[in-house]
């Protein structure tokens, strides 16, 4: 089952396209990082997935074909928006009660236990909570709905390092113990690198990279060698991005299963997720999509140098 499936999805605000021709299938059981620079279209994509906005073109479905935003979809999805908006004048207990009233499934015991662990009194009003507490309460409300898919929009943006750690620990627990699929967006990859096992890279309204982190890392290498030979090899390798320093060049290369022998004088090493992401973001024309129609090897949008 795909928790999010988009087909030629587009969203236009006025005359600008926030997203265009996005095709994506995120399988269940992953903690997916939706990464991209500010304004790339991450929030738009998440809003479409949770049904807050409708596509201008194409389709998007969730949880195995349920129309995004339909009642069936909302039963299985929990969403925490950016800055975790809560009703400021409601107490934690009121917020639990409200969420319980608005959903067909709500685990009151879990929610109260979580707030107890966090040390948030039930009588505490949302406006009196710290940013970290508000984020935790919003997350608790979402998880107590026992969703199959948890969608988080920039959940860590306004949290201090300690609160980030705690927040992600909760998300990880839900993913590992309850098997909740998670999609979370961030413009800072570093904080997701340790936890995400599926990566979707969005830039300029396009989905540039999508795939399991393991596969992506296995399929890319960093080759370092003399600058004078780079032109020669660049032609036979799938070079995503090239950077040079003095007489050395570094080529981020996609191997796609075909093992190229490392020529003498060159050195190959695995890439980190951050290197990979940055390389693709720098080359907005490059892409790595598991498109069943074309396959990885024949991706025509590859930029080679």
């Amino acid at each position: 089952m795909n928790v999010v499936e988009a087909n030629a999805l587009g969203k236009r605000y006025g005359s600008t396209w926030a997203l265009r021709e996005c095709t994506l299938a995120v399988p269940e059981g992953h903690l997916t990082a939706l990464v991209g620079p500010n304004g790339a279209g991450k929030t738009t994509l998440l809003n479409l997935a949770v049904g807050l906005t409708d596509p201008s073109s194409g389709t998007i479905s969730v949880l195995g074909g349920r129309r995004a935003g339909s009642l069936a979809a909302l039963d299985g999805i929990a969403f925490v928006a950016q800055n975790a908006p809560l009703y400021k004048n409601l107490s934690a207990a009121d917020l639990l009660h409200e969420t319980r009233n608005l959903n067909r499934r709500f685990d009151q015991g879990y929610a109260e236990r979580r707030l107890g662990e966090l040390g948030i009194p039930l009588r505490q009003k949302a406006e009196k909570m710290s940013g970290g507490q508000q984020a935790q309460v919003a997350l608790t409300l979402a998880l107590a709905r026992r969703p199959k898919l948890l969608v988080l929009d920039e959940p860590l943006a306004n949290l201090d390092p300690l609160a980030r750690e705690d927040f992600m620990a909760t998300v990880m627990t839900a993913a590992a113990e309850d098997g909740v699929s998670v999609v979370l967006s961030s413009h800072v990859l570093a904080e997701l690198e340790r936890v995400a096992d599926y990566l979707v890279l969005v830039s300029h309204g396009n989905i540039q990279v999508a795939g399991e982190v393991e596969d992506l890392l296995a399929a890319h290498h960093m080759l370092t060698g003399p600058a004078s030979e780079s032109a020669r090899y660049a032609r036979q390798w799938n070079v995503v991005h090239m950077s040079s320093a003095a007489s050395q060049v570094r080529l981020l290369v996609r191997s796609d299963g075909t093992a190229h022998p490392v020529p003498p004088g060159w050195e190959a090493r695995p890439v980190t997720l951050e290197e990979l992401t940055l390389a693709y973001l720098r080359e907005s024309g490059a892409g790595a999509l598991p498109d069943p129609a074309r396959g990885w090897d024949t991706d025509s949008s590859e930029v080679t140098r």
């Binding site: 269940e28 059981g29 992953h30 903690l31 809003n47 949770v50 049904g51 807050l52 906005t53 409708d54 009642l71 909302l74 039963d75 299985g76 999805i77 929990a78 969403f79 928006a81 950016q82 800055n83 908006p85 809560l86 009703y87 400021k88 004048n89 409601l90 009121d94 009660h97 409200e98 969420t99 009233n101 608005l102 959903n103 067909r104 499934r105 919003a138 409300l141 709905r145 026992r146 199959k148 993913a175 590992a176 113990e177 309850d178 098997g179 909740v180 699929s181 995400a196 096992d197 399991e212 982190v213 393991e214 890392l217």
Partner: protein, 352 residues
């Protein structure tokens, strides 16, 4: 990095609880109890004032009505005392803005606050669904404010009773129950106007997406509709009756007047001054500053009648009060339903 391999919990959708509409009752109450409480306190304070003032008015009326003979000086004093009791409330205009205020301060923030604070992203992604959420909230709170206003208007009706009752005798000149200012405060109209103001507020809040502009726009839109209804629409609910001369029943609401001479239309509305000067020159003297002044107790009507003019009036008799109330209540209810439906449609359509 390893993939999370724990299988997804086998959630059985059949075990889900149903989501009846009444779940929204608690939600609506929790979110809007301060606003509803504010309306109750505000109208309650006004009600206490109206009640005290009303007792005075009723006493003054009873004293004046019981006085015999009515032409005596003592009775004239009592009649004058009744006429000058609570002058501020007399025409009903002080109470006219109440529905608009309720609409602006309760209706306008209904959706504008959710959008302004971003909480709609929470509310509209819950399992209840945003369309049902909006319908339930607007209907519950709208009916609540209309009911509170309706209860208040019962007291208002009682307050204005003496003015209208006085029309049965010949002692006092009395207003028509249909006259603008009084009509909207009594019967079903006050509750209906409050409901329509609330629905306007909700829609405007959804359009502006911010509270303060929504409040201002709601007040403006309400004023426009109220003026349109009072000055243009209401007189056409039922075809008016026509009266010849001054042969009008008491407490009639005159909607237009015109004059004829020799069976031909002469002029409509108020008699032009130059015509009166021409017909009855003796009654006019040069006034200060080059103008003209009227000599003594000049009656334009008498002057015109003496010269063969006939007065005609379109009017609505006081007995049309309840038909008019139901007509006005009916179209306001229909308009409220329409406004709420448009708001719900906008909530579904334009978002995020």
């Amino acid at each position: 990095m390893t993939a999370v391999t724990v299988p997804v919990r086998s959630a059985n959708d059949a075990s889900l609880r149903p989501l009846p509409w009444r779940r929204m009752a608690w939600v609506s109450w929790r979110h809007h109890r301060v606003a509803l409480g504010g309306v109750v306190v505000f109208l309650g304070a006004l009600a206490v004032w109206l009640w005290i003032a009303g007792l005075q008015l009723h006493h003054a009326y009873a004293a004046a009505a019981a006085c015999h003979p009515s032409s005596s000086a003592a009775c004239q004093n009592l009649i004058n005392a009744f006429g000058s009791t609570n002058v501020i409330l007399k025409g009903g205009f002080v109470l006219q803005p109440l529905p608009a205020l309720i609409g602006a301060f309760v209706g306008a923030p209904m959706l504008a606050r959710e959008i302004e604070t971003g909480t709609f992203r929470y509310a509209w992604t819950q399992g209840f669904g945003r369309r049902r959420w909006t319908v339930a909230k607007l209907v519950l709170v709208g009916v609540a404010v209309a009911a509170i206003a309706g209860a208040f208007s019962v007291l208002v009706s009682w307050y204005y009773q003496p003015y209208l009752a006085s029309g049965n005798g010949t002692v006092f000149s009395s207003p028509s129950p249909l006259s603008p200012g009084l009509f909207e405060l009594r019967g079903v109209a006050f509750g209906a106007w409050t409901l329509v103001a609330f629905a306007m507020g909700a829609l405007v809040g959804m359009l502006t997406r911010r509270i303060v502009p929504a409040i201002v726009a709601t007040l403006a839109a309400y004023a426009g509709l109220a003026l349109l209804a009072g000055n243009v629409l209401r007189q056409h609910y039922v075809t008016p009756l026509v009266a010849k001369g001054s042969n009008l029943p008491g407490a009639a609401w005159i909607t237009s007047e015109w004059w004829t001479k020799g069976g031909k239309f002469a002029f409509g509305g108020r008699p032009p001054v130059h015509l009166l000067q021409q017909l009855c020159p003796a009654s006019f003297v040069p006034g200060p500053g080059g103008g003209i002044a009227v000599r003594g107790a000049f009656s334009p009507t008498t002057c015109l009648v003496q010269h063969g003019y006939t007065q005609w009036s379109d009017y609505q008799p006081a007995s049309h009060f309840w038909p008019f109330q139901w007509i006005e209540g009916g179209w306001l209810l229909g308009l409220s339903v329409l406004l709420i439906a448009v708001t719900v449609w906008l909530v579904r359509r334009r978002v995020a």
